[in-house]
Amino acid sequence: MKPDLRVRIGGLELANPVGLASGTFGYGSEYEDLVDVDRIGALYTKAVTISPRPGNRPPRIVETPSGMLNSIGLANPGIEAFIAEKLPALRARRCAVFVNVAGSTEEEYLEVVERIESAGGVDGYEINVSCPNVRHGGLAFGTDPAQIERLTRALRDRTRRPLIVKLTPNVTDIGSIAKAAEAGGADAVSCINTLVGMVIDPSKARPVLAMGSGGLSGPAIRPVGVACCYKAARAVRIPVIGLGGIVRAEDALQYLLAGAKAVQVGTGTFVDPRCAISVLEGIAAWMEARGLARIDDIAALLRD
């Protein structure tokens, strides 16, 4: 019997649990020739901010053992150009589309969501709270439960579409942050965003990335992501979406067993554009071999 791969986030039904992570798949068209995006459950756009942002000075990426650092710096054309140039093609997608939203103040987040709500045509939002809050001394929104709850509540007032809060692992207690998002009315949390990291080139005696530090992603961080997901899934009742270092179906199964309802593939797409599709096929085959009917049945298997 073919397993039922559908999963529900808020009021939205995704065809399957595999998504393409924000910042690694552009706005969906760049990988057109290589990936059949329509087979994927959800596409998360590169972060959109109120004003256009050129992004950080290069170099912006560097490889690390089993991972990579990036300091792209939210490079994006801004909400206006996003709506004019990117949204039409995204609207035509058969998979669910979540816009990843970023800002430096609460108002900026709200305005992006309001503008997209008026334009219509997307399925939901993923709120990137790893950005430094300029009003609060530059510490990221995502490290303070009170700020998270407040921001989520304000966003909740603006949209009935699914609202996902994306958690950063750079905190002492990810469970309390997940709880704050739930209290603020989020429909789901996704975790993890990148870990703060730095690579220094001894021959030049300076950091490889122009910005100094960057965000660590890829297989190197997978154990951290699975542990965060496990904790978050036990802290909240809303769905948890797991990501970090997924390159094979077994990696995604680790997240689903840890309690995630869905997963995302990020850096894995860079390594092999077919990654998300083969992860999806692998999950389905694994469920079929074990006679599991639904995605929820996976998490129920875990014996800890």
Binding site: G26, Y31, L34, E63, I72, G218, P219, T267, T269, R274
Partner: protein, 270 residues
């Protein structure tokens, strides 16, 4: 946009051309589009997670489907770090996950333009490919190659009339390709006409900056191929940013790697 494909390429040859350089020939059986000079492919060199990311390499040649033989694409690469070391250990018959052709290649020279191809280091491959493509359309392009020393000259057939420049004077002209061009080709833009010369440049960042400066001074056109760290290679990640003249950034992989000299702030790339 050209049509890009991912396919399982077979290694036909992987031959040393100097101590630390190899020429790789792949069976391009996944052919979707014929690669143009200046375009590149990305290779996944290991099924393990270190090294992790695909690596970009410019085409150094391409032979279309001949009677009974699959098309072949070639690459000339330098062993620099982990991925190229691993690549150099692969034997003919091994298979590689390849994606291409990617990026924007070199434009054709204008009717009035004399092409001068200048480069060094890992720029050798794409310039050789361009030279043979130009020869096919009846041009006799001048290739000016820079090396640190004669001992680094690759065992590869160079086009007739190629000029060799060595930093140590161990062979050919002592100096850089830019030095040679500055001295030997003093002409500048003919009054009223198009550019007399189009520079095609590929090599280390300082050479590109110097070529851009020279072309600017002389009023020549210049098409320069830039290098930058890449993650996706298809324009999705914004990782391969290059500083655009006048602000902002362009993507090496999708907007380039070949740019008109005026598009990029080459000094800021140093």
């Amino acid at each position: 946009m050209p049509f890009v494909k991912q396919f399982d390429a077979e290694i036909i040859e992987n031959r040393p051309v100097t101590e630390s350089w190899r020429e790789l020939v792949l069976s391009w059986d996944g052919l979707a589009e014929t690669p143009a000079p200046g375009q590149f492919l990305t290779l996944r060199v290991s099924p393990y997670s270190d090294p992790l990311l695909r690596r970009p390499f410019a085409f150094s040649g391409f032979v279309g489907r001949a009677a009974g033989e699959a098309p072949r694409a070639s690459v000339i690469y330098q062993i620099r770090g982990g991925a190229t070391r691993l690549l150099s250990e692969l034997a003919p018959g091994a298979r590689l996950d390849a994606i291409g052709p990617l990026g924007r290649g070199f434009p054709q020279p204008g009717a009035e333009e004399t092409p001068i191809l200048a480069g060094g280091g890992i720029g050798l491959g794409p310039l050789l490919f361009l030279a043979s493509a130009l020869a096919e359309i009846g041009e006799a392009p001048l290739l000016v190659l820079g090396l640190r020393s004669l001992s680094l000259l690759p065992r590869i057939e160079l086009p007739e009339g190629a000029v060799l420049c060595t930093d140590d004077g161990s062979s050919g002209f002592r100096g850089t390709p830019v030095d040679w061009i500055s001295r030997e080709r003093p002409e500048s833009r003919p009054s009223g006409g198009g550019a007399a010369v189009r520079i095609y440049g590929c090599g280390p960042a300082p050479m590109l900056a110097a070529l851009s400066g020279l072309a600017g001074d002389r009023g020549w056109a210049a098409s320069l191929s830039a290098e930058q760290w890449m993650a996706c290679g298809v324009g999705a990640c914004m990782g391969c940013a290059l500083p655009r003249s006048g602000g902002g950034f362009l993507r090496a992989c999708a907007d380039g790697p070949v740019f008109d000299a005026g598009e990029i702030d080459w000094k800021a790339c140093l």
